[in-house]
């Protein structure tokens, strides 16, 4: 039963953080290069533009859900299962989601990177 709780926490973390990452990435692409904006129009204009972006707000909401799922998961299950399992799965789901929803060019180098890092994260916790 404890395992079932742990894996449902992992599923919730992966789903929420992938959604959040995709939304935040889209939001920041809409905002534009933060460094240039800061130089050109100042910090407050930059903050205003970021905080008024609907994708940013939804992304933060999804990240909050992921964060609390992680806190729940850590208090229920083993950190050595939940942290690496959710982290490594997120690398792969993010690559898939970025290709589908952000139309990023995920070439063989990036697939290799996502899979290698995901595998490495699992091994680090083993």
């Amino acid at each position: 039963m404890k395992q079932a709780y742990a894996w449902s926490a992992i599923a919730a973390i992966v789903l929420a953080s992938t959604t959040g990452d995709v939304l935040l990435s889209r939001a920041m692409k809409q905002v534009g290069d933060v460094g240039e904006l800061w130089r050109q129009s100042g910090l407050w204009t930059l903050l205003g533009r970021v905080l008024r972006n609907p994708n940013f707000l939804l992304g933060v909401l999804a990240m909050t859900a992921a964060f609390y799922s992680l806190l729940f998961g850590l208090s229920w299950g083993d950190v050595s299962l939940i942290a690496p399992a959710s982290a490594s799965l997120t690398f792969v789901t993010n690559a898939i989601a970025a290709k589908i929803f952000l139309h990023e060019r995920v070439d063989h180098r990036r697939w290799m990177a996502a899979v290698l890092v995901a595998g490495g994260v699992v091994l680090l916790a083993a």
Partner: protein, 156 residues
């Protein structure tokens, strides 16, 4: 990629790994939280380790957002995964923990992954800003046009 951009990626890496380990330590101190006592979850923020961890994660968030404003998600995530390697090296050389063979292999895999992704371009270019030899991503351009259409509709 400029030196300043690599600094931002380093900020993402450091804040995330140190912040996460502080959160983990703090939540162990707080103990189990049941669904029937949800307010315990809010009170967990009062634990110093959790509070400091959250502060570092705010720093992580700021640098992560900055990185995402000029680089792809599938570039930023693997490129900043060196934090896992860093944590293991700290455990080995600073905390004198034993690092098993499988962990060393894990470090190798992650480093190889970071090497792979940082060799490529950081951003999928749209045709408007792309160099002639980088014009290999039609889906991104189609998405860009869709976004523009949606913005136009929203303005109307």
């Amino acid at each position: 990629m400029t030196f300043r951009k690599y600094l931002v990626l380093a900020g993402v890496t450091l804040c995330a790994s140190i912040g996460d380990s502080l959160l983990s330590r703090g939540m162990k101190q707080v103990g189990n939280i049941s669904l029937n006592h949800l307010h315990d979850l809010i009170l967990a923020v009062l634990n110093p380790s959790v509070a400091l961890g959250i502060l570092l994660l705010l720093g992580f968030f700021a640098s992560y957002m900055t990185a995402l404003s000029w680089a792809d998600l599938t570039y930023v995530l693997p490129a900043t995964s060196l934090g896992y390697v860093l944590l293991t090296l700290i455990a080995k050389f600073y905390l004198h923990e034993a690092v098993t063979t499988s962990r060393w292999i894990g470090i190798l895999l992650i480093s190889a992954g970071v090497g792979f992704v940082t060799q490529g371009p950081a951003l999928t270019h749209h045709p408007a800003q792309a160099q002639p030899n980088e014009r290999a991503c039609e889906p991104a351009s189609a998405a860009g046009r869709n976004d523009e259409r949606q913005t136009m509709r929203a303005k109307r």
